[in-house]
């Protein structure tokens, strides 16, 4: 398929793999964090680990928007959905996230709540137009990639004079999460998470550009290579990171030049700035409270803010004690290090959010990579 096959060619992959093998210094280890769930998914789905030398390690980062949303916010969404007459619109992955008491949006739906799976904010807007007598809430989640479409939906709702449409805003920011990881004691003080460089987000960077990462490269001396989500992009980015480290550089490089400009998409940024403003702090699953890491709807668009319309309470709900999602999201542990991975926690009965989304580290490993630990007794079969 044009524009896809070119980035998945096995022959080219072997060439880059050979170059990585020849350039990686056998006397040291390389630890790279792929921030995005999209990269995690590509690495697992295409078996990229098989093409890397044993001393090149990939650490899964927190860039899965479904995974980082704390249970409290999911609980808020479930409570919204249970309001009689209300229609809650959500992206598909959110439906299965378990909240308190084993409840999820999907279970709420089975019990009679009107929860609709949508592919875009525009779908939610359409549902609101078609149901003028009923309140319609769009459960907005995601990093910078999905924020501009939410902004457009709010502006359109205003232009259309829609009184029944609101947005439960949970949009979060990539650079704040990366700096939080780099400043965490596990990385900075104790060295528990060896981190030599980052594969920077693909789609997020299309919106925010490559400039926001320059601070990390400079301040923390960690190279960042922005890469597309296709497997050859990932391989090329790994090679570029190794080359930077071997030559003692820590720069922001852009492998994804076919889509990412240094300044990003100015129009999208302006749109987001028009509708949203920074929250002072926001809770992330795994990372805890991260200052200035999320967006809220500006007061001039308050009529479309579900948090105000429905007085949504701030809920802080602790993760299941046995679940290691938090540590996995920080790169401290791997999915297979979690005691309940593949036993109590499976894609059918997820305990933690990392097992739900296809972009979550646990789901990706369970779905595509768990045969590598087949000799471990902990892996339970279906």
């Amino acid at each position: 398929m044009k524009y896809i096959d070119e980035f998945r060619a096995g022959g080219l992959a072997r060439q880059i793999a050979a170059k990585i093998a020849s350039e990686a210094d056998p006397l040291r280890h390389y630890h790279f964090m792929e921030f995005c769930g999209g990269h995690t998914h590509a690495i697992s789905r295409f078996g990229i680990v098989d093409l890397l030398p044993a001393n090149v390690h990939m650490i899964h980062g927190p860039g899965c928007p479904v995974c980082v949303l704390p249970i409290g916010r999911v609980q808020n969404a479930i409570q919204l959905a249970q309001i009689p007459g209300l229609i809650l619109c959500s992206y598909g992955d959110m439906l299965r996230i378990p909240a308190s008491n084993g409840m999820s949006l999907l279970k709420a739906k089975a019990q009679g709540a009107d929860v609709r799976m949508v592919y875009s904010s525009a779908d939610a807007l359409k549902i609101a137009q078609e149901n003028p007598q009923r309140p319609v809430v769009f459960f907005a989640i995601g990093f910078e990639t999905t924020t501009p479409p939410t902004a457009i939906a709010i502006q359109q709702a205003q232009a259309l004079g829609l009184k029944n449409f609101t947005v439960f805003c949970n949009h979060v920011l990539t650079p704040s999460a990366i700096s939080h990881i780099l400043q965490s004691p596990e990385v900075r003080t104790f060295g528990l998470v060896p981190l030599d460089g980052f594969i920077g987000p693909a789609h997020v960077s299309v919106v925010i550009g490559s400039q926001p990462y320059e601070y990390f490269a400079e301040e923390f001396q960690k190279p960042v290579v922005i890469a597309g989500f296709e497997p050859l992009d990932v391989m090329q980015a790994i090679l570029m990171l190794i080359q930077q480290i071997n030559t003692g550089r820590a720069k922001v490089e852009n492998e994804f030049t076919r889509a990412v400009l240094p300044a990003g998409n100015i129009k999208a940024q302006a749109l987001v700035a028009e509708v949203f403003e920074l929250r002072r702090t926001f809770e992330w699953r795994g990372l805890g409270w991260v200052p200035y890491s999320a967006l809220k709807i500006k007061s001039r668009y308050a009529a479309f803010d579900a948090e105000q319309r429905f007085s949504i309470p701030a809920l802080s709900i602790a993760d299941n004690k046995a679940c290691e999602c938090g540590a996995i999201l920080r790169g401290v542990k791997r999915p297979q290090d979690c005691k309940i991975f593949g036993t109590v926690c499976t894609p059918e009965n997820p305990v933690g959010s990392c097992m739900v989304s296809a972009e979550g580290a646990c789901a990706a490993h369970y779905r595509y990579g768990r045969f590598r630990e087949r000799n471990n007794a902990v892996i339970k079969e279906n």
Binding site: R45, G47, P231, E348, Y368
Partner: protein, 352 residues
């Protein structure tokens, strides 16, 4: 000349198949129901067994092993490119029978109709079933109709049941896969699911993909004639080829290694899947089968499949390996290896 006020014997008012719709009376056991059955179902499905008009159909049988299967159909939308719920209901059960290597003989059909459902649409569906059954030479010999209140169904649900005869000496079962066996598929994967999805209101994208819905029993007969020693047959419907392969691996207590570059997938299906974040391995098929046979028979079987119109894109996609964990693995076109897991949750509801 018929006298005024005296009804002609055997006369019943003609159903308004253009503007009429299903009413509760059509399921009440009264005259309206008899009229619906006679004018719509019996007329369309017409055969000597149905004409007996009993609560059951009486048919001759020969000695030997028989198979029986039943399949419910709840697809939405009811009409999609390449087929509709009617043809799907006939093909689905015929294929389940054929996957034992059996010759399908008779079908039964049950209809749950929703009050208000247009008779014109019902006629279209029933005609499509009749045509599919006739083309497959498998008559629908008995059936049942129920009507539910508006809001309690979704237009029409159809259940079909079939019986078939297994030829002497044929032992095909999902527990028969052995390490070293080859895995074949009869054609391109994911066509049905993508064709249905493309018709969904909330997934508006344009494609010319048609459902592959088809009766596979003739292809199977052709394959068995060429290779009587086929170990396993299965039609990868819901959950796609991934689910079917995992089921076989579990039942046979074996592992599998398939090769991504050998999988026949139409470019449009691949594109739609990329666009929607789906994996064609998990998308439903309604006219494809997986065959597993000893390695030495594989080329012969492949030739036989390709010689049949429904198998012209057949391919050998992998082999059975020993694995106590029963993993289905795939060598990616990229050069790595990964698990092809069971489908978790619901990728797309109401696909067949």
């Amino acid at each position: 000349m018929v006298q005024k006020g005296i009804v002609k014997p055997g006369y019943s008012r003609v159903l308004d198949l253009k503007k009429g719709c299903i009413e509760m009376a059509h399921g009440s056991g009264g005259r309206a129901m008899a009229q619906l059955i006679q004018q719509l179902f019996v007329t369309a499905f017409d055969n000597e067994f149905l004409r007996q008009m009993n609560d059951q159909a009486c048919f001759p049988s020969s000695s030997g092993r028989m198979v029986m299967s039943t399949d419910c159909h709840v697809v939405t939308p009811l009409f999609f490119p390449g087929g509709d719920i009617g043809s799907l209901a006939v093909h689905g059960t015929i294929n389940d029978i054929a996957m034992a290597g059996a010759k399908p003989c008779y079908l039964a059909a049950g209809f749950i109709l929703e009050e208000g459902f247009p008779l014109a649409d019902l006629k279209r569906i029933v005609d499509s079933m009749a045509q599919a059954a006739r083309a497959a030479q498998v008559p629908i010999i008995t059936g049942d109709t129920k009507v539910v209140e508006k809001g309690s169904g979704d237009g029409v649900f159809i259940t079909t049941t079939g019986v078939g005869m297994v030829p002497e000496g044929i032992h095909i079962s999902a527990e028969n896969a052995r390490p070293g066996d080859k895995i074949l598929v009869s054609g391109t994967l994911g066509d049905h699911g993508v064709a249905v999805m493309a018709q969904r209101e909330n997934l508006s994208f344009e494609t010319s993909i048609e459902s592959d819905t088809a009766a596979l029993h003739e292809l199977v007969a052709h394959m068995i004639a060429a290779t009587p020693g086929i170990h396993v047959l299965r039609d990868p419907t819901r959950g796609g080829i991934a689910a079917a392969l995992n089921e076989i691996a579990q039942q046979s207590s074996v592992g599998m290694m398939i090769h991504e570059s050998s999988l026949p997938i139409q470019e449009q299906v691949q594109a739609a899947c990329e666009f929607l974040g789906l994996d064609p391995l998990y998308i439903a098929n309604e006219g494809k089968l997986i065959a597993i046979c000893p390695a030495q028979d594989a080329e012969n079987l492949l030739r036989a499949m390709r010689a049949h119109p429904l198998g012209k894109n057949a391919a050998i996609i992998g082999e059975i390996i020993e694995d106590s964990h029963c993993f289905v693995q795939m060598q990616t076109g990229f050069g790595g290896t990964r698990v092809v897991d069971w489908l978790s949750g619901e990728q797309l509801p109401r696909i067949c």
